[in-house]
């Protein structure tokens, strides 16, 4: 039976390797107390995605972002260093930056005029003469900085726990898959302009499951499959084949071949001769850099990657980064971006973004149906007093579970359960 099974039972998860049963309590999705606990044990302790290095291309560039309920400024200062600050004036609390993005050397609070440098230093207060000498000598009136901000291959993560393990160790086994995505670019990845910012009236963990769920595709996304079949030349004859993996630390992946075109690098006839030339050049470069076997894996395999707890990196007909945050037990906010190689030709970029929208996002041919499914699950949990458990057992009887099995979801739940049931260390 499943070797990764913990053969354990908690109030949330039954992981019974001997009987091949994996159950998750529906109260995990609805209780306010569970969410309060998650904020403490998961969102305060785990590394959370903040932004991509390409969003801060020039000194002074900033974006503001809400991460797990906190208003933050993510910027690159004049010295080139990347920072994250709490977006609140140390005087009386107003947000010092009220724009979504821009370029600034100074963040000046509009309430009383306190001004902070792009390194967070308090540099001016109107009526300074009325403050005692040495007022900010200890720096306590500078913008409060997120002390733990680390970067892996252009992805910046923060941790609200200053004692957290380093990001590199936290990512562990999922780095192999992040590398397979980032290695697609010769000169680095960038966020293509435009952010999808939506919401789902469902528990955030339902999107963790859904983003790496190969089982629902054929049924939930029947109309997407119909669409693919109607297109002329948008498919290769690659079948859907592959498997799921538990990567440790709650990180998980499914990796598989698929019939759709991939900008790096699976050609489809609809892209024509120009597209074919682009793909041939990309394949040649990948082979030169990584050898044939790895080049083929990078280019021809698809990956749905869950980086615990709340970041999805899906490398399919396009690449999406998707981060999501609980607002309430039955509501989440979702931010999604398209990631692309900087050196990509304009024509291939256009194909990539066209591909992205046919499946992904709240106006695509697939994501709206996922949203509907998640919201209907959440409504179904109103019946949890009669039906208390979800079933996630598919593939537990297999040595190597396939992409339509549920090992990768069990990987998430094993880590979630372990953090939620660990004995709290005393302060």
């Amino acid at each position: 039976m499943e070797k990764q099974s913990t053969n354990s039972r908690s109030q949330y998860v039954i992981d019974d390797g001997n009987s091949g049963l994996f159950k998750v309590a529906r109260k995990s999705f609805v209780d306010d107390a569970v969410l309060a606990d998650e904020r403490q044990r998961i969102f305060e302790r785990c590394w959370l995605y903040l932004g991509h290095e390409s969003e801060l291309a020039k000194p002074g560039d900033f974006v503001t972002r809400v991460i797990s309920g906190r208003n933050l400024i993510f910027n690159r200062d004049r010295g080139g260093a990347v920072n994250a600050f709490y977006n609140t004036c140390t005087h009386r609390g107003a947000m010092v930056c009220r724009e979504a993005k821009g370029n600034a050397k100074v963040f000046q609070c509009f309430y009383h005029g306190w001004a902070f440098s792009d390194e967070g230093r308090l540099i001016d207060q109107p009526g300074k003469e009325a403050y005692c000498e040495g007022f900010n000598d200890n720096g306590s009136s500078n913008l409060a900085r997120l002390e733990r901000l680390e970067n892996y291959r252009g992805l910046y993560f923060l941790n609200f726990d200053r004692n957290a393990v380093p990001l590199d160790a936290y990512l562990g086994g999922v780095k192999e898959y992040i590398d397979l995505v980032m290695d697609q670019a010769e000169t680095g990845m960038e966020i293509a302009g435009g952010t999808q910012q939506y919401a789902i009236d469902a528990n955030w963990k339902l999107l963790c499951e859904n983003s790496i769920d190969g089982y629902h595709g054929g049924v939930t996304h029947a109309t997407y499959m119909d669409y693919l079949a109607n297109t002329v030349g948008s498919m290769t004859n690659s079948g859907l084949g592959g498997g799921g993996r538990q990567l440790g630390g709650g990180h998980a992946v499914i990796e598989y071949s698929a019939p759709w075109g991939r900008p790096v690098a699976q050609h489809v006839p609809a892209w024509g001769e120009d597209g074919k030339q682009d793909i041939v050049a990309i394949m040649a470069r990948l082979t030169r850099n990584f050898g044939e076997e790895r080049a083929r894996r990078i280019a021809l395999m698809n990956r749905n990657i869950l980086i615990f707890p709340n970041l999805v990196l899906n490398d399919i007909m396009a690449i999406t980064l998707r981060a999501f945050y609980p607002i309430a037990p039955d509501r989440m906010h979702v931010n999604a971006w398209a990631l692309a190689p900087r050196e990509e030709t304009p024509a291939m970029r256009e194909r990539r973004l066209f591909n992205f929208l046919e499946f992904l996002g709240p106006g695509g041919f697939a994501t709206p149906d996922d949203v509907e499914a998640l919201e209907m699950c959440q409504r179904g949990y109103k019946n949890m007093h009669a039906v208390a458990w979800n079933d996630i057992s598919k593939g537990m009887n297999r040595e190597q579970p396939g992409t339509t099995d549920e090992l990768q979801m069990r990987a998430f739940w094993r880590q979630w359960n372990s953090l939620m049931t660990a004995k709290e260390a005393t302060e």
Partner: protein, 171 residues
């Protein structure tokens, strides 16, 4: 915006009133889920776009991530999809009410009219009502068979679509 009016010799004269009638009809077809007839309002090279809310006027589907960027083929597929029960997000079908107002002819080049209007579209499903607020930017070709939409760009005047959740209808 300054108005440019360079009518083609044979282009039929269209007034704001004519476009109001046309856009009211489009809204009615959408509200009645007569999507095949709605699709017939578009030219063979038409495009339908909904930019992300952080896009600018200069953003195009070639350089920025939109919510929707359909060419005519994919727009036809969108209609096919919405007509199916397996379009789960829209089954059972939502109730919609499309309203358009502040209709203006912004420019005319040959027989192509640039027309803008404000819109509020309400969608109700599962006892939740979402309100889509924004403006449409049309390019409408006027030929012997009357007006046809060559481009419809629906710009949401919102900071995000968190209040909407998704864009599973045509707005």
């Amino acid at each position: 915006m300054s108005q440019t009016m360079t009518k083609g010799a044979n282009a039929p004269e269209m007034t704001r009133h004519d476009f109001e009638d046309f856009l009211y009809m489009e809204a009615a077809l959408l509200d009645e889920w007569r999507l095949n007839e709605w699709l017939a309002l578009f030219t063979d090279d038409a495009r339908y776009m909904v930019p992300s809310t952080d896009c600018t006027d200069a953003s195009t589907p070639a350089n920025s991530l939109f919510y929707i960027a359909d060419d005519r083929f994919r727009l036809g597929e969108r209609v096919l999809r919405l007509n199916k029960k397996t379009a789960h997000a829209e089954w059972p079908r939502s109730k919609t009410r499309h309203t358009v107002h502040n209709v203006r002819i912004r420019s005319v080049e040959g027989n192509v009219y640039a027309v803008t209007c404000n819109f509020v579209t309400y969608r109700t499903k599962n006892d939740v009502t979402n309100t889509y607020i924004g403006h449409h930017e049309y390019k409408i070709v006027v030929g012997a068979q009357g007006p046809k939409i060559q481009e419809k760009r629906s710009v949401l005047d919102l900071d995000s679509i968190r209040a909407l959740g998704k864009i599973s209808i045509i707005i």
